[in-house]
């Protein structure tokens, strides 16, 4: 059976009226089988960094546990003064990188991203 232009137009109109605009366009274009990739203004959703969140979170948690199980030793050494200022300042830097990375990934994993 041959499909005339009239038939094509009528079926396109039927789809268009039913709200299936894409199918209607496809019929008019004569491409019924293959779908053309459509450009979307909305960015494709990025994969959420679950793995990174878990990895950094684990390292951070481990570091916190290590610190608090050795509380007495740490507080004693860190407060000896002099060149040992490097201990608390270094620890603060270390935690800011590890825990900061965890926090950043956590917010992304929760879907909280800055406005583009």
């Amino acid at each position: 059976m041959t499909i005339t232009t009239f038939d094509k137009n009528m079926s396109a109109i039927a789809f268009a009226e039913a709200g299936e605009h894409d199918t209607a366009r496809q019929i008019l274009d004569g491409k019924t089988s293959k779908k053309q990739p459509r450009k979307s203004p909305a960015p494709v959703a990025k994969r959420k960094p679950y793995l990174a969140t878990i990895i950094f979170g684990t390292i951070s948690l481990f570091a916190y546990i290590l610190l608090f199980t050795n509380e007495k030793l740490v507080t004693d050494i860190f407060t000896m003064g002099g060149w040992r200022w490097m201990y608390p300042v270094g620890a603060a830097f270390f935690f800011s990188f590890i825990h900061g990375a965890f926090a950043s990934n956590l917010l992304s994993a929760l879907g909280l991203e800055a406005k583009k």
């Binding site: 894409d22 407060t79 956590l106």
Partner: protein, 446 residues
């Protein structure tokens, strides 16, 4: 222009370092404070044997009049304040245990104030310090340790916040560094004034001075920021560069510095006083940002979003510098710093991304609200200090307790309301954003 900036930095840095050397102790603890362990108590003689932390030297100290031998705890690291007015030099004024026992409720309290302080910091560039230190002190942390630990938590938080906001294209690194270098000088001047007042008028005089500065700055600057934000909220919401800033930008005294992100060209002679004032205020009330951010907005003509982001760079440099000072004296309780960081690193990043969803004036609203409520918290303390100085008749104990209560709760309300405004503005911004995205999607789909 780069050359001029380098010259400026290299002339100012040695200047600040020499000022630092001259002051020796810098912004560290006072010399009347000893750190170490009490090894023995001699109750009949009312003396103790004390082992100094740094030299391990054993010394004998006499108990102060109000101290009881049974209150002394042995073999725990303590901070001892010496009585400066005692006839012999070795009389104790008070003793405080350096490391508090970390109970679950204290731990939770630190996590909560860390989170809200972080959120505020990420959003308005500064915040939290005015509440962190008193909060830690009310948990039983000695004052010097509270200040030191807050400092050590502040710089990593500011660093992470500054990095995020730089990534969003909001932080002007050059402006931040220029301001930070001059602020370090301001800190030295601030400390010198404080020391002078302390020597002249004693502790109550010093407290009164701090409260007076707090009140004047917070009420005037906070009031102006609030007025400006209110005007913007009623109008289009789009901020324009103020008349004062335009006039300042026209002053053409070399070296003129161009700041790319802030999009201004201004004479270094204008940035220096604002930087110095920021540092002075930081040394006096611990929150330099309450002058730094409004200064950048109204004197330089920078937008609130860039000013608050740039403030984080200043906070990082000054916090790192201060942490080294306090670390040299060994007064940082790393547990407190890291517990605050546990939630403030999340809060600061949430606050930072929040700025991308809100209009510029919301930052001003949050800043002004915080400043004005904090002003109340300090204001109610003034009568107490006036009574201490015998300028007014002594207050009833009930009145003192009432004022203390108002002061504490005002801080809680300041943090709470700022946090609430930020969260509400952020949710509104995010909902509007996702709605507009859906509309675009709907239109394109036919």
């Amino acid at each position: 222009m780069k050359k001029l900036l380098m010259i400026l930095m290299f002339t100012l840095l040695p200047l600040s370092l020499s000022a630092q050397a001259a002051l020796a102790a810098g912004d560290g603890p006072s010399k009347d404070m000893l750190k170490g362990i009490i090894t023995e108590v001699h109750a009949p003689e009312r003396t103790i044997t004390f082992q100094k932390d740094d030299t391990k030297e054993l010394i004998t100290l006499a108990l102060g009049e109000k101290m009881q031998p049974e209150d002394i705890k042995l073999n725990q690291k303590v901070l001892i304040n010496l009585d400066k007015h005692a006839e012999t030099g070795n009389v104790m004024k008070d003793v405080s245990i350096m490391f508090i026992d970390m109970t679950v409720s204290k731990l939770l309290a630190l996590l909560v104030i860390g989170a809200i302080g972080g959120l505020l910091s990420g959003f308005i560039g500064s915040g939290g310090a005015f509440v962190m230190t008193p909060a830690m002190m009310s948990l039983g942390v000695p004052g010097a340790v509270a200040v030191a630990s807050n400092m050590c938590h502040k710089f990593p938080k500011a660093m992470v916040g500054a990095y995020k906001r730089w990534k969003y294209g909001q932080a002007d690194i050059k402006l931040g560094l220029v301001m930070a270098v001059t602020a370090v000088i301001g800190v030295q001047i601030g400390i010198k004034i404080q020391k002078y007042i302390l020597a002249q008028f004693g502790g109550a005089g010093s407290n009164l001075y701090i409260s007076a500065v707090f009140m004047v700055v917070l009420v005037f600057v906070g009031g102006y920021v609030f007025y400006d934000a209110w005007k913007l909220a009623k109008g289009s919401g789009e901020a324009t560069v103020g008349k004062l800033a335009l006039r300042m930008q026209k002053i053409n005294i070399p070296p003129m510095i161009h700041f790319k992100t802030a999009n201004i060209t201004i004479s270094a002679w204008i940035t220096i006083p604002i930087g110095v004032l920021t540092g002075m205020l930081a040394a006096t009330i611990a929150v330099g940002g309450f002058v730094g951010v409004p200064g950048m907005i109204y004197v330089f003509g920078v937008s609130a979003v860039v000013a608050s982001a740039t403030e984080l760079i200043i906070a990082f440099v000054m916090g790192a510098w201060g942490s080294v000072q306090w670390g040299l004296s060994g007064l940082i309780d790393i547990r407190l710093a890291l517990l605050l960081l546990a939630t403030s690193l999340i809060g600061v990043q949430l606050g930072a991304l929040g700025t991308t969803y809100v209009k510029d004036y919301i930052i001003k609203v949050v800043m002004a609200t915080t400043m004005l409520i904090v002003a109340i918290s300090r204001g109610v303390k003034v009568p107490g200090y006036l009574a201490d100085l015998e300028l007014i008749s002594p207050l009833e104990p009930g009145t003192i307790a009432l004022f203390e209560g108002i002061s504490f709760w005002a801080l809680v309300v300041a943090l709470g309301s700022a946090g609430l405004i930020i969260i509400v503005a952020m949710i509104k911004g995010m909902t509007a954003d996702s709605r507009s995205k859906k509309t675009i999607l709907g239109v394109s789909n036919g």
